[in-house]
Symmetry: C2
């Protein structure tokens, strides 16, 4: 009754934890203590342990033997490496996708772009952040772009890298203050190149798109060095019992 379908209880806390990290409720660099987590998500220590093990595999959490787990810390160097890796792998997969994708894939991509175009860019309730709807539509569009690739391994690799990049995007507050950038136009150009089956141009556009976003994130991080590279802020236990 507590769970539905083929989902185990560990999956529950696993997804809940991932959501909390990706949405920023858990701060990069902070420790994840078993007692607090087990209490917060109403499961036992064992289930918490397995969920954290999976998150380590996904790269969102790092583990140190005998010293517990903590949310993956952010750093300039890691962002640079991640950006390079994304540019290389995603453009590679996009090339395969454009060459191998069928008509169904084209249709899905067009549909995803349509949803992205109509999604509100900023959160009405919190104009400093992107709206959840846009973030989701954005991820769906990029995922659709790559989905034509038949190679499941390369597809998973690209998707994994993209998910980690979401962490950086989450923690670079006050987005959108970049002069002269038109994100919607970039997406439109990407879609056009893809539909024209112009793999080379699509890859070039995607590289620029990724590099552009990364440059923006780095500049944001420079403005707020606290957010990047250390726990800082507060002692921030998982449960703010104070």
């Amino acid at each position: 009754m507590t769970k539905s379908g083929g989902a185990t209880r560990t999956d529950g806390i696993h997804q809940a934890l991932r959501a909390d990290i990706l949405t920023g409720r858990l701060v990069p660099g902070d420790r994840l203590k078993f007692p607090d987590l087990a209490d917060r998500y109403q499961v036992s220590v064992g289930a918490t342990r397995e969920a954290l093990t999976r998150l380590v595999a996904e790269g969102l959490v790092v583990a140190r033997p005998r010293q517990g787990y903590l949310v993956r810390p952010l750093s300039h160097q890691d962002l640079a490496e991640l950006t390079q890796a994304r540019a290389e792998v995603e453009s590679l997969v996009l090339g395969l996708s454009v060459r191998e994708g069928d008509t169904r894939w084209e249709a899905d991509t067009v549909a995803a772009h349509h949803l992205l175009e109509r999604a509100p860019y900023r959160d009405p309730a919190d104009p400093d952040h992107l709206s959840d709807e846009w973030v989701q539509a954005h991820a769906a569009f990029h995922h659709a772009l790559l989905a034509g690739c038949r190679n499941q391994r390369l597809l998973d690799a690209a998707r994994s890298l993209r998910q980690e990049a979401e962490l950086y995007r989450q923690w670079s507050v006050s987005l959108g203050n970049e002069p002269g950038r038109d994100v919607a136009a970039e997406h439109r150009a990407l879609l056009d190149a893809v539909l024209a089956r112009d793999a080379g141009r699509a890859q070039e556009l995607l590289r620029d798109h990724i590099a552009h976003t990364a440059r923006l994130l780095i500049s944001c991080a420079s403005d707020q060095p606290n957010q990047v590279g250390g726990a800082s802020a507060s002692r921030s236990s998982v449960t703010n019992t104070s």
Copy 2:
């Protein structure tokens, strides 16, 4: 006393299981039952569970909810995808390695190649298989080739793919029966191109090297379809108590 240094007990069964899978003591497609494993490696069920979770992350084991874990099954399609992914990612990383590697990296690569050259190709005790020494030296050489890359993420991705390919190499018996191939010469050519800092040529050689090996594996698999795609062979519980 039971453990030394910073190694936890889960690490023990984790590495033991990985070794057993990579060396072929555990057959692809077979189930991994907790009671048997816990008994075999002398640990509790909980430790076994976490070890399997990590192996799932590494791609050596697959999990089905409520249905247990099993050693990753092999298939022609997966081999083809893996080969393509390796050709793309490894050649990418090799290009970065050649461009970014320093003198120390050159020295390590030369040293690894020297060890590979001097390692016996076939196992004296079992001429149908490669010798453990050569397999290890081979892996070390390829790892050294890539080690010049400064991007840890791409490096890890390449290494992970290579490890999975080892699984296929293990299960393609009766190696070396390919006429007209000189593996040692391929490695020598790779080393020369790398030392000459000729990234393009090195990448081309590596692609050929990977494709060549894959073609050999596929032909072997065709000869013995049982090995690929099904548990077959025996009911093969983990512990052969019969």
